[in-house]
């Protein structure tokens, strides 16, 4: 369970990225976070992985008090939360296989099991045939899949996807959404930040709307009754 209580994040210059945000996300949920650029979606993700701490408020993920988490425990937290970054953050000098392998290497998984796991994930996200290519050799959709594969390496409880369909054509976007739905079906909590209103409207999932740092709407979409 993810629980935010009155979270406010201000930056040095006095800009408020998030203001008094509170919500609870249950395990296994699929939640969209929507809002215009600069509304605070990415800041929310950065707070969740303890890339930064809130100015005020509390964040809990399961039993973990994220705000007061010691530096030593941050790597452990980041094994529980997979992140698909908006700019992907793939290592450009490593192959797709090596990119996905990296978190497992860091996590000290033995080489044989780690390689097997990478093969499984690449198969799952549908880019096994590109495993020996470098990021520069892949298309936008394939790169997104690679980033998702890396985020899934540790079978995380939570997957944060920041604009995963941002630069993709419609068909590829839907492929990615389908993939995220499949992952969600295995029990992984998914929080996806997006601008894509078509996707949000079609999926009938819970939507958190953030505007100018404030949570203005927390809505569970219902299927409209056909008359």
């Amino acid at each position: 369970m993810i629980k935010l209580e009155n979270v406010t994040k201000q930056f040095g210059a006095g800009d408020t990225a998030l203001e008094d945000v509170s919500f609870v996300i249950d395990p296994g949920e699929f939640v969209f976070v929507v809002g215009p650029s600069g509304s605070g979606k990415t800041t929310l993700f950065r707070l969740l992985i303890r890339e930064m701490v809130p100015t005020t408020g509390a964040i809990h993920i399961g039993d973990w008090d994220i705000v007061n988490l010691s530096h030593k425990k941050i790597p452990h937290l980041r094994k529980k939360i997979g992140v698909v970054f908006q700019d992907l953050k793939l290592f450009r000098d490593r192959t797709i296989f090596e990119n996905v392998l990296f978190p497992l290497e860091v996590g000290n998984m033995d080489t044989k099991s780690a390689r097997k796991r990478v093969e499984e994930i690449l198969e799952l996200v549908g880019i096994a045939q590109h495993s020996n290519k470098f990021p520069v050799q892949l298309s936008g959709g394939e790169l997104q899949r690679a980033a998702i594969a890396r985020a899934l390496a540790f079978s995380p409880e939570i997957l944060l996807a920041d604009e995963p369909t941002g630069n993709l054509d419609n068909a590829t976007s839907w492929e990615i959404i389908k993939l995220l739905q499949d992952i969600n079906a295995t029990g992984t909590t998914i929080i996806m930040a997006t601008h894509n209103t078509e996707v949000v409207a079609s999926l009938l999932k819970r939507v958190l709307t953030i505007e100018k740092g404030k949570l203005v709407k927390d809505q569970k979409q219902e299927k409209k009754e056909e008359k």
Partner: protein, 292 residues
């Protein structure tokens, strides 16, 4: 193993920086090796002179055996004498013949009549040499003047002074080189860390611990230290081995050369330990400075 692989990748991808780091380490350890040879060599040379009969008194031809015995006795009474050895005219000729056996002309010119009998005395402490020399000069049997009594106090003093001077200069040069090589290593590794800032940031976001990120850089510093040291030691040792025949003829009689292989090996091990510490300190400084 992964750390070693990553470290090797860092080195391979920036060969010129690696070369610069290895060169500076090599220079430092070349200086340390040369310094070690000099200190080791000079201590043996001094010991050699210290262990030789340190005062020699030459007797007049007309000297009586009783006078010589009296001198021996008064020397022994001082309690500072380690050995006393009487060399007769005959023995002196034998020694002379042995030293100049390759030069028959010199042998023909000298007979036992020309060579004086002598008394070779060594003391336990070098400070007692003056006292012993004075007792010898006072004996009526000993040839008067400067030639009557000779001793090596001056040689040893000069050598000690020279060795101390070399030590001070050597330690200063090594300290400066060690400081410079540390600074250069800090700069090189620091530059590499800042070059990889983005990659390091991603690593952190992907749950890498600080030590996971730091170790390859620290290992890189140790690698530069080890390789640089080995080559520094190799150049210095090869130089010494090459110069051994020339030095042997110069340092005739002193049991210094050729240097035992165990000395080279001990020096290498000692230097490697220093290099590992130096490399580790330098890279740790860089990592802590640029990777907070």
């Amino acid at each position: 193993m992964r750390t070693v692989k990553t470290s090797w990748k860092h080195i391979r991808r920036n060969p010129y920086q690696a070369l610069a780091a290895i060169c500076i380490m090599m220079l430092t350890f070349l200086a340390i090796s040369v310094f070690a040879f000099i200190v080791f060599g000079s201590s043996i040379v001094i010991k050699y002179f210290e262990s030789k009969p340190q005062v020699t008194a030459f007797f007049k031809d007309e000297a009586q055996q009783s006078e010589i015995d009296a001198l021996k006795q008064s020397l022994q009474q001082t309690g500072t004498v380690a050995t006393i050895h009487f060399v007769s005219k005959k023995q002196a000729l034998q020694r002379y013949s042995e030293q100049n056996k390759k030069d028959p002309l010199l042998l023909e010119l000298v007979t036992s009549d020309i060579l004086p009998a002598s008394l070779e005395v060594s003391t336990n402490n070098i400070e007692d040499l003056g006292k012993v020399a004075q007792i010898m000069r006072d004996s009526p049997a000993v040839i008067e003047g400067e030639q009557g009594v000779i001793y090596q106090k001056d040689i040893i003093q000069r050598l000690s002074l020279l060795t101390n001077g070399i030590r001070v200069i050597g330690i200063t040069i090594i300290a400066i080189l060690a400081f410079v090589s540390t600074i250069i290593m800090v700069s090189i590794i620091g530059f590499k860390v800042s070059q990889k800032k983005e990659e390091i940031e991603i690593m952190r976001l992907l749950s890498a611990t600080n030590w996971y990120i730091r170790w390859p850089f620290i290992l890189e510093g140790i690698f530069y230290g080890i390789i640089g040291t080995f080559f520094g030691w190799l150049v210095a040792s090869a130089g010494l081995l090459y110069a051994t025949p020339y030095l042997q003829s110069f340092l005739k009689g002193i049991p210094l050369l050729p240097v035992a292989p165990v000395f080279f090996l001990t020096l290498l091990i000692g230097e490697l330990v220093i290099a590992i510490i130096l490399g580790m300190v330098a890279s740790s400084l860089a990592v802590l400075r640029y990777l907070k």
